[in-house]
């Protein structure tokens, strides 16, 4: 995929879940475009479809209808294998609950995407260690998640999201499990990453967190509310 100022573009995305006999329409035609170095917050009450939208944007899920282009490539009908490859190479994730492998060290957690990218062992470790040092966890490399604070865990998760030099980083309530001081530290890291040229999409219902972003997208009942 070539360099382009538009990273991804969703056109009239719909997503219908069937829970038992009831069909739930989570997204009812969402069109959104994310450009390089964007810093976007997606806000909305629970049930508004913001998580669903992020899952589709981050290639964890496919839309029921509509077109989704990732770097000009239509990926909405991609297979699992192809989507996995995009997630691996071009997308970084940061989750509310950190989602680290509990029995692996910080270093191994950060290196995990490289494992699936088929990177050589030496290079893998060097790269992961490098990013951990940059993010200020040089002395925590061989610690396991239960030996680190919440803030440290989230920083490991950010390091993991960065390790493949992704085009775009999705952060789903990244400060939700942190106290306000640690939370603002984490937000500081995101701000800095955007300054360095990264592209970040935040999902949050915390207005203070959303305020860090340059642009806010509000969702309600599966549709984007007009700003």
């Amino acid at each position: 995929m070539k360099e382009n100022s538009v990273i991804c573009r969703a056109v009239d995305i719909r997503k219908i879940y069937t829970r038992g006999k009831v069909a739930v329409e989570a997204l009812r035609g969402v069109t959104v475009q994310i450009q390089r170095n964007d810093y976007i917050s997606i806000m909305g009450p629970s049930g508004s479809g913001k998580s669903t939208l992020v899952h589709i944007l981050s290639c964890l899920d496919s839309p029921t209808s509509g077109k989704y282009y990732f770097e000009d490539t239509l990926v909405s009908q991609y297979t699992d294998l192809e989507l996995a490859k995009i997630r691996n190479k071009y997308v970084g994730f940061v989750f509310q609950n950190f989602s680290l492998l509990p029995r692996s060290t910080a270093l191994d957690n950060v290196a995990l995407p490289l494992v699936y990218g088929g990177v050589r062992k030496k290079e893998k470790i060097a790269k992961a260690a490098d990013i951990l040092r940059k993010i200020g966890l040089g002395d925590r490399m061989h610690h396991r998640p239960n030996e680190m604070s919440g803030g440290e865990c989230q920083r490991v998760a950010i390091a993991r999201a960065l390790v493949n030099d992704p085009r775009i980083i999705f952060a789903d309530e990244p400060t939700g499990n942190l106290d306000s001081v640690t939370g603002s530290e984490i937000m500081g890291i995101f701000d800095k990453l955007v300054e360095e040229g990264n592209t970040i999409v935040l999902v949050t219902h915390d207005a203070n967190v959303a305020a860090h972003a340059k642009k806010i997208v509000k969702l309600k009942d599966g549709r984007i509310e007009d700003a």
Partner: protein, 415 residues
């Protein structure tokens, strides 16, 4: 390849964190493979020693006898006993056949004891045959001399002893030149046979060979007991021309039917026994046991496999979040499938390797403490590997597919 190495490392990390569980999981496989290996190597040992011993009877010989070695179960004993005895003349007539190199009479009579001074052996066999006995049976004289034609023709009271008899009656001296009393007849020992070993636990060297006319004199037909009449009489040992054993069987049958004056519709009143008959009998007996063991082993491997499947399912449920994380950072369904499959195969293989080890040690121990001798073949080890790997794949595929098909979003939310 790097992928596989990675998966294997990953599997071992998982086992390390669940040592006890992994061990218990493989226990079924360990027991299954141990049983298979131990029993197979004992059966193989038994097979080999039986084959070797049966071969020592003379693999290329045909034994023309009154009775079959292998009873068919519905034989009319009286009818069998009424069959004509075979005679040394039969042997001469058979030797003239084109496919027969040589045929010799062979009469075996068991006596209760033979004594020499203070030493005695029990239940030795007194064999009556001729000067070609050693050649036909491929059993040669080690010290002293073999029979001459004259020894046989002149009905001399000479004998050649088997090595068991020699060492037990003459522990400190050479038997050659000594005299032995056989049923009241003084027999001079002229030679000692090379050791032949034992067959089915019985020494084949506990005998004395004397010329058959001498044997007939010592054991006249009238004094023979019913026992010796049934099992005694002459056997004709036939050595066919090399490679013509089947032809020899046909020619011998035809000639004997003629000599016994049998009509077209009459059954043979003699038997052609070969070592093949014994091998077939043995194979028949052991086949049942073999099938039973394969069945038992199969059951224990299935049980072991179910154990693996069970634990793998637990493992998948327990690691749902981990699977979600891995998928989020780029693991495809296929990658997850192979990761779990690798785990179950490695678990099964570890069980298999331990089972092979224990099985071999067990077989060795049984060899030492019991008369059974184990024989290990490479194919058994391969079989152990193959079995356990297949069990790992077969019972691992379902849990692995379950892991692979997990929805990453739901898996990430799983607590």
């Amino acid at each position: 390849m790097r992928d596989i190495a990675e998966r294997i490392t990953l599997s071992f990390q998982t086992f390390k964190t669940h040592r006890m569980r992994s061990f218990l999981t493989t226990l079924g496989i360990i027991i299954g493979v141990t049983t298979v290996i131990a029993i197979l190597s004992l059966i193989e040992g038994l097979n080999r020693s039986v084959a070797e011993q049966v071969r020592s009877i003379g693999s290329d010989l045909i034994f023309l006898q009154k009775y079959t070695w292998v009873s068919t179960g519905h034989s009319d004993l009286e009818k069998l006993a009424a069959r004509p005895d075979l005679t040394p003349d039969d042997a001469d007539a058979l030797t003239a056949l084109p496919s027969v190199e040589i045929a010799i009479p062979d009469a075996d009579t068991r006596v209760t004891t033979l004594k020499y001074r203070d030493n005695e052996v029990t239940n030795p066999t007194v064999v009556g045959s001729d000067e070609n006995y050693s050649y036909v049976n491929n059993h040669f004289v080690e010290s002293g001399r073999d029979f001459s034609r004259d020894d046989v023709l002149h009905r001399r009271k000479v004998g050649i002893v088997g090595s068991y008899l020699a060492t037990n009656l003459f522990p400190d001296e050479s038997p050659v030149g000594k005299e032995l009393m056989v049923e009241g007849h003084r027999i001079r020992i002229i030679g000692v046979f090379r050791e032949k070993g034992s067959f089915l636990g019985q020494s084949m060297d506990n005998f004395i060979l004397i010329p058959y006319p001498t044997h007939e004199k010592i054991f006249p037909r009238s004094t023979r007991s019913i026992y010796s009449r049934v099992y005694g009489g002459y056997s004709i040992d036939i050595k066919p021309v090399e490679g013509k054993i089947e032809q020899a069987k046909d020619e011998v049958t035809e000639l004997m039917r003629r000599r016994h004056g049998l009509g077209f519709d009459e059954e043979n009143d003699f038997e052609l026994n070969t070592q093949q008959v014994l091998m077939d009998l043995y194979a028949n007996i052991t086949r049942v046991g073999f099938v039973a063991i394969v069945a038992i082993a199969g059951i224990s491997l299935v049980v072991g496999g179910i154990g693996i499947m069970n634990i793998m399912l637990v493992s998948v449920a327990e690691r749902t979040r981990e699977i979600g994380i891995r998928k989020a950072v780029g693991a495809s369904n296929q990658t997850i499938l192979f990761q779990f499959l690798t785990e179950s195969v490695i678990l099964a293989l570890i069980g298999g390797i331990i089972g092979i080890g224990i099985g071999l040690v067990l077989a060795e121990i049984i060899s030492v403490v019991s008369p059974l001798k184990a024989a290990v073949s490479f194919w058994m080890v391969l079989l152990g590997f193959g079995f356990s790997a297949s069990v790992g794949i077969f019972f691992g595929i379902y849990p692995a597919r379950r892991a692979a098909s997990l929805n990453p979003i739901e898996a990430l939310r799983y607590e």
